[in-house]
Structures are given as C-alpha cells and as structure tokens.
Symmetry: C2
Subunit: 126 residues, 2 copies
Amino acid sequence: MFLQIEPYSDIPIYTQISQQIIEGIANKDIIPGDSLPSVRSLAADLGVNMHTVNKSYHELEKKGLITIIPKIGAVVNVTREEGGVKGEQLDHMEKMLRPVVAEGIVYGLGLSEFELLIKRLMKTLQ
Amino acid sequence: MFLQIEPYSDIPIYTQISQQIIEGIANKDIIPGDSLPSVRSLAADLGVNMHTVNKSYHELEKKGLITIIPKIGAVVNVTREEGGVKGEQLDHMEKMLRPVVAEGIVYGLGLSEFELLIKRLMKTLQ
DNA sequence: ATTTTGTTCTACCTTTTATAGAACAATTTT
DNA sequence: AAAATTGTTCTATAAAAGGTAGAACAAAAT
C-alpha cells in the first residue's frame, strides 16, 4: 500500500484514502481478489485513526468496489464485468461529471479539449 | 433566475446555487454583462439565508466567473476568452476530473464510453 | 492460547454549513 | 432631498461533518 495522506488538504482524509485505493485498482496495482490491509494496520501506517480508514472502506463497499467480510477483512471485487458497464454506474458517473462539464463549458472548453483531458488522464491512471 | 434548491441534499446549499448559476452561464441563460440578483432578493426567492447566497457568489468570484462590485452587485464576466482556455483553468479541470476518471476506469469505462458521456452532457448543458 | 480481525459504543473536539439580526456606508430610486 | 436597496461586517447560535480516542466484543487466524 503506497498511500500518501495530506493532513491539511481540503479533501477529507477518508476521501483521500478512497481515491488512492481507486487509483490503485485502476492501474492494476491492486487486482480483484486482493485483500486490503486491516483497518488497524493501514491506520497505523498512515498515522490516522482506525475509524477514518473504516469510513473509507465502507465508502468503497457502497460503491461496490470491495466486499467487507466481518472479522476477516476487505477484498477487492471484480468490477470490470463482462456484459459492459452497469446502468446504475453510468448514472453515477453522469452525476459526478455534470458539474465538471458545466464548468468546463463556461471556461470555453470544447469537445476535443475535453477528450484530450480524458485521454491524458486515462494514460496517467491506467 | 430559475434555481431549485434541495434543502436535504448532501450537496451544500451554497454549492447548489453555484452549480446552477454555472449551468445558467453554460447554456447562455445568463450571458457576460448580466447582473445577478442581489444576495438579499435571491435569498428571499430561494428561502435561504442571505449569507448562504453571499458565500456562493464569492465562490463564483474565486473561480473568475463573476465580479462583485461592492454596494452595486455581481456581474457575469467574459470567460470564453479569445486566446483559448487558460492553463490555470485546465489544471483546475484536471484536478476535478482525475478522481472521476479513475472511478470510471474501475467500472470498466473505455475512452469511447467517456466520450459518449461527455458528448451527451455537453448537449444537455449547452 | 494468543493475537488479530471488524464492529460497536461512548466521548470529545474542530471545522463546516446555515441561520439570524444588527449596523454601516455607498448607491440607487423615488 | 429622502427613502430604499446594496454588499459588507460583526456577533451569535445551532446542527452536521470530519477526526480522534479508548474500550469492549465475538469471531477468525496464528
């Protein structure tokens, strides 16, 4: 686990943890079937509270990315399903993208510039 | 002003106001030079506190989208500059997009699916 | 048998979000 | 000239969110 937490960021610590684990899954640093470290050990590694890590894990479980087995641990799920992306997840993506795209339009971004941004980010993250 | 506030949303009221004004600028419902309603009248319209609207306006000013002239009001700026998008704004867009793209990758989204989402949103918003 | 696991509970603190009212000086309207 | 409206600033209060802390529990792993 190579997570780096910025304590004074305006992004909550538990969100930083979630986002970096998601990036780890995106770039296959973490693959389906892998176990995440225990909330206690990761908390100790990061110098944060156990409950903060626990909150992040439950956020990831809510998104369907991991499964928390009580008294055992957290396991990364298979999320790249065969039959394509779930409609539920597409709706979620659209909800997250909408305010970002609106702001981009106001800045004068065109479709090609959006596509370039996405392409660059996919190359960076994948 | 056709703003609709959901008081019990997990999105702060002042953020809802900012986002909907940004959408108004994106779809040219509001154009550069237009004055925004006074913080008092908009607050009365929406049934929220004056200070909540004030916070939203200052957030929009921080993004460079409006100019607040003390004792006068708030005016929408020209944001689609001639010389293309500012690098500062592209950095900001990338920061906002990064966690969204990462999550999309984990869901199995490919470039073409991202592009379709963006295209659809641009059509809806513009 | 011991350690480690996630869970649950109480407790405390800071920051954020939101509301409320008052006062001010400047501007606009009447 | 008088009245109303403007954004700003100040104090105050309250709820929610974010974060830490410690303890206890039963189940699982060592």
